[in-house]
């Protein structure tokens, strides 16, 4: 019994040491992995835009990223999902934005603000209005201390 216990202790100590260690290889690999990710493109679909010079295409991931960046500025909502709908010519026909709203909050006011911000981004990016912007309030969340302005210095 004593031997069994000491083997448990030994293996636990060894596992703890292994967990606490960081391989030198990882330190070297970290930067390379981050650089590799910068040039890795995600699957996306083209969305047609228009300008005075003619038509162009924007990757759906770019439009979604711009929407996220814009709506991230608001502390009263979080974007959960963005679905883009396009026709056979890649023209944007609609956007479905699933959001979570900070509780307590005025749902209709926040949803309308999200719709307006979405319309603005689409207009700026594609040069045209989205025909339909559907807002789905899929969740509510409470604000973190940081969002509320935690007065504790860090």
């Amino acid at each position: 019994m004593t031997d069994e216990r000491s083997l448990d202790d030994l293996l636990r100590e060894a596992a703890d040491e292994l967990r606490a260690s960081t391989d030198t290889g990882w330190q070297r690999a970290h930067e390379r992995i981050l650089r590799g990710l910068l040039i890795t493109l995600r699957p996306s679909t083209p969305v047609r835009g228009t300008s005075e010079e003619g038509g162009f295409r924007v990757a759906s991931t770019v439009l979604v990223g711009l929407l996220r960046a814009r709506l991230d500025e608001r502390s009263d909502l979080q974007v959960l999902r963005v679905s883009l709908e396009t026709d056979e010519h890649d023209a944007l026909t609609g956007i479905v934005l699933a959001i979570s709203i900070a509780y307590p909050g005025a749902i209709s006011t926040v949803a309308e603000a999200a719709r307006e911000a979405t319309r603005e981004i689409v207009l700026q990016t594609l040069g045209d209005q989205a025909e339909v912007v559907d807002i789905v309030v899929a969740d509510v969340h409470t604000l973190s201390e940081r969002d509320l302005g935690d007065p504790t210095p860090t």
Binding site: D3, S6, L7, L10, L11, R12, E13, A14, A15, E17, L18, R19, S21, T22, D23, T24, G25, W26, R28, A29, H30, R32, I33, L34, G36, L37, L38, T40, R42, P43, T61, V64, G65, L67, R68, Q78, V79, L80, R81, V82
Partner: protein, 180 residues
């Protein structure tokens, strides 16, 4: 958003294309994935490739993560698949059955110089386990994953994991006898 953000919050942001959020996940889970891979394939370059491919797969395929398992389990599952592919390739090229594939001691020279005595001994003992035993022991004892999570990663059953862990523990105990 930063190092203290929850996995769920980071995944939400990654799904919307936030690379900064993904970098936090790389920093959070990269060391563990590397530690696991390094002890499975015994080669820095191969390990780095496996970890990089794991994160590229995760970045490209985050929509496929249904959150039925934890993010950690999902990432280790991807990594374990990459590792198994490399072990199969190594086994084929060296004509050594995968179950008997052991890690050459001299492959660890650089690493050993920086490890404590016990860690060196553990590394050598782990290298003598079969890949399945080694994977199960690391995932359980070092990464603290449950039997169910390990079974998902290793494509087996919780009972299978329990058996491999018992054999791993027995073999490690024999090899580390001098440290008791």
């Amino acid at each position: 958003m930063g190092a203290g953000s929850s996995d769920a919050e980071l995944v939400r942001r990654v799904r919307l294309g936030d690379r900064a959020a993904f970098e936090v996940l790389v920093t959070r889970y990269g060391p563990g994935l590397y530690r696991f891979g390094r002890r499975m394939v015994s080669d820095d370059a191969l390990t780095e490739d496996c970890v990089q491919e794991t994160f590229i797969t995760a970045w490209s395929g985050i929509e496929g993560f249904r959150q039925e398992s934890s993010l950690k389990t999902w990432l280790f599952g991807i990594m374990a698949n990459k590792v198994r592919r490399e072990l199969r390739r190594l086994s084929t090229h060296t004509s050594i059955p995968m179950e008997e594939l052991e890690i050459a001691d001299n492959a660890r020279t650089e690493q050993r110089a920086e490890l404590t005595g016990l860690l060196q001994a553990l590394d050598a003992a782990l290298a003598r386990l079969t890949p399945d035993q080694r994977a199960c022991w690391i995932l359980r004892e070092v990464e603290h994953l449950s039997y169910e999570q390990i079974a998902e990663i290793q494509h087996t059953t919780p009972g299978g994991v329990r058996g491999r862990l018992a054999r791993a523990r027995q073999n490690l105990g024999r090899d580390l006898e001098g440290w008791r």
